[in-house]
């Protein structure tokens, strides 16, 4: 985590688009990803969209939202939402402890926080080495993955953050949450 946060300090302000899963770009160009773990799985996000990484801080819950929206936090005066990635992938709510981290990323001009168990490393891979996601039954919806990369002996799933938390999806989820409330269903566990 320390390495990662040091690295991210100089991260540029503007988000860069993520590598396309379908067609790998100019092959020799290297991309850097910050990888982090959720349970036993490794995920990566393009380092260019990561603004900083902070330790878990208490968030304020938002009413009637989807479960994976943990709430909002204060980042030096800005208010931004924190999403629980584990929960987003249908693996249940993260039981947060002080060791958890929030990765602050830029998505379509908005700052959002992604809750992860821990940050692992910075992965440098050639674009040619990012392979498309095979058509298998994953826990994670494939549309949220930009591709797969290898880090030593482990596989890292590169996230397409823009898709993962895009506003339309969130709006949709808000509506779903509302209709759940309307139907009297419990929103919690």
């Amino acid at each position: 985590m320390t390495t990662a946060s040091n690295q991210s300090n100089g991260a540029p302000v503007l988000p860069a688009t993520l590598t396309d899963a379908e067609g790998p770009k100019s092959d020799d160009v290297e991309s850097q990803f910050i990888t982090f773990s959720i349970g036993s799985e490794e995920y990566g996000v393009d380092i260019l969209v990561v603004r900083e990484i902070i330790a878990w801080t208490e968030v304020t819950q938002l009413p009637n939202t989807r479960e994976f929206v943990r709430g909002v936090m204060n980042l030096r005066g800005s208010i931004l939402p924190v999403f629980d990635l584990r929960c987003r992938f249908g693996m249940g709510l993260t039981e947060v402890a002080k060791t958890h981290v929030i990765i602050i990323v830029y998505v379509q001009d908005k700052l959002i926080g992604i809750l992860a168990d821990s940050v692992s490393q910075i992965l440098v891979v050639k674009n040619s080495e990012i392979r498309p996601v095979p058509d298998v039954d994953l826990v994670v919806d494939q549309e949220f993955l930009a591709g797969l990369a290898n880090s030593e002996d482990r596989m890292v799933a590169v996230l397409d953050v823009e898709h993962l938390f895009d506003p339309e999806m969130l709006r949709d989820s808000v509506d779903k949450a509302r209709s759940m409330v309307a139907k009297g269903e419990s929103n919690g566990d």
């Binding site: 208490e58 968030v59 304020t60 819950q61 938002l62 009413p63 009637n64 939202t65 709430g71 909002v72 936090m73 204060n74 005066g77 800005s78 208010i79 931004l80 939402p81 908005k110 700052l111 959002i112 506003p167 969130l170 709006r171 808000v174 509302r178 409330v181 309307a182 009297g184 419990s186 929103n187 919690g188 566990d189």
Partner: protein
């Protein structure tokens, strides 16, 4: 963000200033044009002078930047105004209409030029012509009386019988350039008056190596044949009167041209290189603030007196103010934090520290008020655009409308002012198009032929209330309901209260216009109004009485930056309730609560049954108090003036909070207007009372969306 642009070059800065100034002047012109028809004789001429000055300064600036189109149109405007001023044309409705058109075009061109685009030459020509036509109709003014530079081709007309001939000597001083005037423009204006012969005297010009570029070395002699009055000629020099040496002499037409030697009256400006006055020149004028001295001239027109205006305002970049506001906001948070610690310290003998803190917080409040006041502007700036909108629309629709403005001086934050314009325009369009009847229908209904729209602004309990009231037909509920069913907004069999039907006009995709007009009826209008008002943390509602009219009420926060709030606790969560909407709070006793129709609960209070809303169940918050009698009910007032009882666990105290947007990085959350940061650095949500009400009111025939039972058995925490 702003830093990325990099420093502006000097010229770009001037350009920016010019456009800023243009915008201001254009607004000023619009304002004046609006009030002109009502002005009496005396104020009218003063207003015309103001108009003239405003147009002139745009023209001057544009000339300096070589924005030809702006110069052309402003010149035409100026000429028309000039004729108005000398009363050759009356300020008829039509004339003002044309002036407004001219102003619009000018505003348009300014925008285009600003964006680096070319103006539409055809429109420029048409407008210039229509403005010229204004005074061409007047018999006194001949065809060539005041031509714009665009029509130079018809300048060479023969002098008329009543033509006069002027010999003009003009020697600008350096001050003329310092005040950003351009001799070329003056020459053009002279040329516009009639047949002009110009000769330049460059005798004083120094060799290049000795030339001081800031100095003025040239002088001109003009021989002008025109049927314009002497006043008109003098007017041209009005703005450079103290920056030049000038002599205007009327000569008889037959008289041969006067000698063209450098014959100049004594300069009034600090010009070192003015030649000694030749013997034939009139005695030097004593006052430095001199009007053009012309032999045997009448007393100068009164307009010239007000040239030196006192500066009472400063133009400040909005970004700078925002930085200041933000800073104060952070200070308020820090102070709140200190106050919390201070309370603990005070208990241990730190009274002085505590007192100091209290003084500081009172200073803080003053500072904050002061900074906020900088951002405040009267709503007049938005209201001023409406008379015109109404006039245009009523003409288009063939309706007769009188507009009454009230409370224009109510002040509101600049950001709100800016965002107010669109919804207000939509609302007025809506009222005119759908609300008001045709004159004949009005007469048939026993009303006056002329309809009335009242636009009012008022400050009420920390909010600004803007109302659009019309005395039209009101909302046609039958039709509204029919359309709503047709569009699938409401189930066919749904039974709705009259108010609920009225509210449907704000539903997305709803439009009652049978055909799409260019006035309203694209099916976006009122929906957009409601959304944009909500985004501002406000709300819009309608009260309609069929047959007698409708009243749209828009309630907005006065500022988007800070507000007074009460911290309430519900379970483990803290929320901020805007202080402005709290009426009172009290402890609940179980016997006070009654259940109506097996679902809604009400509390009897002061002979009224007030619906109860449990924040915990509305927001699905766990961990709250289970016992009703331990809980508090806070009576709050909604935008519609209804009272609502919010059930909370505890009141934690009053605090001034800095409003932070939730939408900036997230989305709108129902029942929440914004967020803030508490002293401990945590985020707290600011409640939106109307939003909360909306969450319990069954809409479109649905069951209530949140259970509002507050009985213990429904309060099991997840």
């Amino acid at each position: 963000m702003a830093k990325q642009k990099g420093p502006l070059s000097q010229i770009e800065k001037f350009r920016a200033t010019f456009f800023d100034e243009c915008a201001e002047r254009l607004t000023e012109i619009e304002d004046i044009l609006e009030t002109l028809p009502e002005a009496d004789e005396e104020t009218r001429s003063e207003r015309l002078n103001e108009l003239f000055r405003a147009v002139h300064s745009i023209k001057g600036g544009a000339g300096a930047f070589n924005f030809e189109d702006i110069v052309k149109v402003s010149h035409a405007l100026e000429a028309a105004l000039d004729h108005m001023r000398s009363r050759q044309i009356t300020t008829s409705e039509d004339a003002i209409e044309k002036l407004i058109d001219g102003r619009d075009l000018l505003a348009d061109i300014v925008d285009r030029v600003k964006a680096g685009k070319k103006a539409i030459a055809k429109r420029v020509k048409e407008t210039v012509r229509s403005l010229e036509a204004l005074f061409a109709d007047v018999e006194l003014a001949g065809a060539e009386s005041a031509e714009a530079p665009s029509t130079e081709d018809i300048l060479e007309t023969a002098p008329k019988a009543d033509s006069k001939r002027f010999a003009i000597k003009f020697k600008p001083t350096a001050r003329l350039f310092e005040t950003a005037n351009d001799p070329l423009l003056i020459v053009r204006e002279l040329k516009a008056l009639g047949d002009l012969k110009t000769s330049l005297d460059a005798n004083l010009l120094l060799p290049l190596e000795k030339l001081n570029p800031l100095e003025s070395y040239l002088m001109w002699s003009f021989d002008l044949t025109t049927d314009a009055s002497r006043d008109a000629v003098e007017e041209i020099f009005e703005f450079v009167a103290d920056a030049c040496a000038l002599r205007i002499e009327e000569v008889s037409i037959e008289e041969p041209e006067t000698a063209s030697e450098a014959e100049v009256v004594a300069s009034t400006g600090p010009t070192p290189r003015v030649p000694p006055p030749p013997p034939s020149s009139p005695p030097p004028t004593p006052s430095p603030q001199n009007t053009p001295t012309a032999v045997g001239s009448e007393p100068p027109p009164p307009a010239k007196v007000s040239s030196a205006r006192k500066i009472t305002s400063v133009r400040v970049d909005l970004d700078r103010i925002d930085t200041l506001v933000n800073m104060v906001g952070e200070l308020v948070i820090t102070q709140a934090m200190l106050e919390q610690y201070g309370e603990a310290v005070a208990l241990h003998g730190g009274e002085n520290f505590h007192r100091g803190l209290e003084t500081m917080s009172s200073h803080m409040r003053d500072l904050q008020d002061g900074v906020m006041a900088v951002r405040m502007q009267p709503v007049k700036t938005v209201f001023a655009r409406m008379p015109r909108l109404i006039r245009e629309l009523s003409r288009k629709l063939g309706k007769k409308v009188r507009l009454t403005l009230r409370g224009e001086d109510t002040e509101v934050d600049k950001t709100i002012i800016e965002l107010l314009s669109d919804p207000l325009t939509h609302m007025i369009r809506n009222s005119l198009d759908h609300g008001l009847e045709m004159p004949a229908d009005r007469l048939a209904a026993g009303k006056t032929e002329e309809a009335e729209i009242i636009l009012s602004a008022d400050q009420r309990s920390g909010r600004i209330i803007i109302e659009v009231i019309d005395d039209g037909a009101g909302i046609n509920r039958e039709r509204v309901l029919g359309i709503a069913v047709e569009r699938g907004l409401v189930d066919a069999g749904a039974e709705l209260q009259p108010e609920e039907i009225d509210d449907l006009i704000f539903a997305p995709g709803f439009s009652t216009a049978e055909e799409v007009t260019d006035v309203s009826g694209r099916g976006v209008g009122m929906d957009v109004v409601r959304r944009s008002v909500q985004e501002l943390g406000g709300r819009v509602t309608v009260l309609s009485t069929p047959g007698t009219g409708a009243r749209f009420i828009m309630a907005l926060p006065l500022t988007l930056a800070v507000m007074d709030g009460m911290i309430v606790r519900v379970g483990d969560e803290k929320y901020i309730l805007p202080l402005a909407c709290i009426i009172e709070s009290l402890q609940l006793a179980p016997e006070d609560v009654q259940t109506v129709m097996d679902q809604a609960q009400v509390v009897r209070h002061r002979d009224e049954y007030i619906p109860l809303v449990s924040l915990a169940s509305l927001f699905n918050v766990g961990g709250g108090l289970l016992n009703v009698s331990d809980r508090l009910v806070v009576f709050v007032e909604t935008g519609m003036g209804k009272t609502l009882g919010l059930v909370v666990d505890d009141l934690l105290g009053q605090r001034q909070v800095v409003i932070k947007s939730l939408e900036e990085n997230y989305l709108h959350v129902e029942g929440v207007s914004a967020a803030t940061i508490l002293g401990d650095g945590r985020v707290a949500l600011i409640l939106d009372v109307d939003g909360l009400e909306g969450m319990i009111v069954p809409m479109h025939g649905f069951q209530s969306r949140a259970a509002i039972n507050i009985l213990p058995e429904n309060e099991v925490s997840p």
